[in-house]
Symmetry: C2
Amino acid sequence: MRIGELAKQSKLSIETLRYYEQAGLMDTPLRLENGYRDYTHASLTLLKFIKRAKQAGFSLKEIRSLISFREAKDQHTLDEVKTLGETKLAEIEAQILHLQTMHKELKSIVQACCGGTASAQDCVILSALEPKL
Amino acid sequence: MRIGELAKQSKLSIETLRYYEQAGLMDTPLRLENGYRDYTHASLTLLKFIKRAKQAGFSLKEIRSLISFREAKDQHTLDEVKTLGETKLAEIEAQILHLQTMHKELKSIVQACCGGTASAQDCVILSALEPKL
DNA sequence: CTTGACCCTAAAGCATACTATAGGGTTTAT
DNA sequence: ATAAACCCTATAGTATGCTTTAGGGTCAAG
């Protein structure tokens, strides 16, 4: 299958597929006589794997690790895979906490603002951002 | 005050200060005879404002808006400021939801892995990332 | 008078994940 | 034969918020 077909089936752009190849996520595929890339169904399966891993929050760099685990399962331990997952889980938790902190802070100051078309002269939001004396 | 002193007091790097100036967050300060930047206390107050806004989750671009509101309060309405805050709140909420979705998904597959030093041959994490047939 | 601390500019680099552009072959259909 | 649709490479651009580099003045102390 040529790149256009793989793009269609994977719902990724042709450019993204070439980018993934260059980024080391996919092996360089065989080439047809005219130089066109010639993919097999395995490429599609790999792309679906990549998409699911992305959905789960892994970066392309981390996905490279996941792919190498996947390609040589017997040379890796369950712990290696699980550690990657747990590390990512911890990162996501930290990000959520950070966002929740910001949200709480921002919500309290935004809610204090009555809004309206009056001048922002005495805006409590702007005041809240001023350094405390 | 020269830039080194302002950096110390604001706890930002000298480079960041010059970057903020170039990014339009701070006015170009007066210069001493030798060309050195000469800041006043107002610059420090502004930097603290910027830092608090960052803490609340605003991007530098949004902070530019906040600063222009702050500098000409009487030419803006409460609604303008409040809308900026509410939009940002909504963005943060969306990000939290997205992260929570990923977290839930990832947690369920990571927890299913028993770990250990056995080969990843039958790793449920890797399996979970494979496309379903 | 030189050393070290401080300041300057302009431009490039970093990380992430792509997207776009320029310039040029190939294949398919009419 | 020509136009549309497809493929190729290499390079640069996008967004964000800085940091780093290169190359070079300024100033106070010893």
